[in-house]
């Protein structure tokens, strides 16, 4: 077991495949991660992101492809030989061990001398701020505290790679935000290469240096949070990254970079992202609409208003019967008639047949 080389320079996944009874859960994943990077695997449930993580951890054997860590092939190794730290969705803390023993388990397995192990456990406990709970058992801790133990247990060995499988999905909204900051802080402190699986695009955007979007086991886009957010590669990524309005409209005029669609008042001008047929799908974020006259203006009737503090989430209907989701600072009420507009560069037009994102997951 080589646990010594903590900092890696490169982890490479080459055409990694995993089948379950003929179904390809992971279909040719190519990904190169450099040392210290924080990469998020993002996608809806069943997209293969957890499969990818389990393959990396060695908990699932590959059915194809290779994984190399600094020019050393590791895809044939057992999980205990890889020495990656992993944080599980349900924390998987050992219920019969105290917080201290949980965190020290990996050091014990690695036969680290007692004094050294004690010092490192203390350090990890301090890092996750659990100093007052060292002798408690997991059952006596709150969800957030259990999560901290799980993180401390995974990082105390300073593994070459930390794998996190939806670690925040079992926490309530407030705690989730808190732990998100915590994970970011720990990553900044230790600089451990991290792969983080989530279905929450906000979590991925705020934590990761790079995002990998997966759908049905295939990569849809790899890029920085900004790239993925502002320039989604296809309709699926757009839908997943918050382009909530997807309007299927006939194409009336195609230019080199822009396209005009029929509908939404006097026609909708947007940015062309695909080769288009007779019909296309315009993807628009709710927050890109503004109430008032401007480009792509159309008149709508307000139907549902959700108060969200600083602004309101509004569902409105055009005179053609198209539902629009938008956000507005102005106080509107159901039944109001307003003009809304959206800048053409914020309207992404994709081919109608490109796959859509699923309905938003909880």
């Amino acid at each position: 077991m080589s646990r010594s080389s903590t900092k890696i320079s490169e982890l490479r996944l080459d055409k990694v495949c995993r089948e379950f009874g003929g179904v390809r859960a992971l279909d040719g994943l190519d990904l190169t991660i450099s040392g210290g990077e924080f990469v998020a695997l993002l996608g809806p449930s069943g997209c293969g992101k957890s499969t990818a993580l389990n393959c990396l951890a060695g908990l699932l054997p590959l059915t194809g492809g290779t994984i190399t860590l600094d020019d050393r092939r590791i895809d044939g190794l057992q999980p205990e030989q890889r020495g990656f730290g992993m944080v599980f969705q349900n924390y998987a803390l050992f219920p019969h061990m105290s917080v201290r023993s949980n965190i020290g388990f990996g050091l014990r397995m690695a036969k680290v001398p007692k004094a050294d192990a004690r010092r490192r456990v203390d350090e990890a406990i301090r890092l996750v701020q659990l100093e007052e709970h060292t002798d408690k058992f997991p059952g006596q801790l709150s969800g957030g505290q259990q999560q901290r133990v799980a993180i401390a247990r995974a990082i105390v060995l300073e593994p070459p790679l930390v794998l996190m499988d939806e670690p925040l999905s079992n926490l309530d909204a407030k705690l989730r935000l808190e732990m998100r900051t915590e994970i970011k802080r720990i990553h900044q402190t230790l600089g451990l290469t991290t792969i983080y699986v989530t279905h929450d695009q906000e979590e991925a955007l705020s934590l990761a240096d790079r995002l990998v979007l997966l759908r049905q086991g295939r990569v849809q886009q790899i890029g920085s949070p900004e790239e993925v957010y502002t320039e989604p590669a296809n309709r699926f990524v757009a839908g997943f990254m918050g382009y909530r309005n997807e309007l299927g409209l006939p194409v009336s005029q195609v230019n080199e970079k822009t396209v005009v669609l029929d509908g939404l008042g006097g026609g909708l001008t947007g940015v062309r992202r695909d080769d288009l047929g007779a019909r296309a799908v315009a993807a628009i974020r709710p927050e890109d609409f503004t109430v008032g006259d401007g480009p792509n203006a159309t008149e709508v009737t307000v139907e549902v208003v959700e108060y969200q503090g600083r602004e309101q989430a509004i569902q409105a209907r055009t005179d053609d019967g198209v539902d629009l989701h938008l956000r507005a600072d102005a106080r509107l009420a159901p039944g109001d008639r307003v003009t809304v507009s959206v800048p053409p560069e914020r309207v992404l037009v994709f081919a109608a047949e490109s796959p859509a994102a699923p309905e938003e997951v909880a």
Partner: protein, 309 residues
Amino acid sequence: MAAAPAVARPRISLRHRLAERGVDRTLLLLLPAVVFVVALFIYPFVYGLQLSFQPQAGSDAANKYGTGPFADYRLFFSDPYLRNTIWTTLKIGLPAALFNVLASVPIAYRMRGRFRGKRAVTTILVVPITLGTVLTAEGLLAFMGPTGWLNRILLDLGIVDHPVRLTHNYWGVVFSLVITGFPFAFLLTLSYLTGIDPTLERAAATLGAGWWQRFRHITLPLLAPGLAITFCLSFVLAFSVFPSAIMVGEPARQTRVISIAAFHAAFEQYDYSMASAIAMIMGAVELIVIGLVLGWRARLYKGATGGKG
């Protein structure tokens, strides 16, 4: 107007107040169980207990130790022929129960996941439960007796010169207890094992623990309280061995277990008082063994094991 505050205090109905203390109509559901326990356990037990303190006039105990309340007990513990039945039974029951529990662990460990044919394998392992002791004994005699298949095969292969004696002695009874007791131990162990969250072992693996370390540090400590219970039940089953001790054992000497002594006193000497005393001693020995095991179990972690069970 002075009485107003007293009137204003809302009166909680009696039914509500009783329900707060867990007394409501669902308690009636316990009635059949209570009747059964009283009629089939408490009454016979108390009856037997008082009978054991009333030595029968003219019995061996009364002739030797008078008609004081402890005459039967004194006879039991002073007569080696009676006293030794405790050791004889323990010598059969403890190893059989221990073997059943220990053998069930690796098999259940291997079988806790999902795999093809799991149901078939489980059925084969559990079928002996459905066989009565008598059928098992018949089978043992036919298979392992001096002219049984096993001995014939061993003789034909030249592995042994004389038939190996595996029935009508100590081993026959132990085999019989293993055949009938193992399925119970296996089913219990399997259900305890599936109650342990499999992610715990996966977590241990990512922390560098090999399979033995995972079993030793994670699974075994979480399973141990369940194994203690499984052992207690297996032991009680084995300790009350009676039919197989007669049919495949050597009931006069090697396998003269305590229940045979009780049977002998009750139905051959018609000394119900002595038989009751033996039954009480039998219960006390079982309680001591279970008490020791549970005492050890009390020192283990017994909380949630994170699984579905």
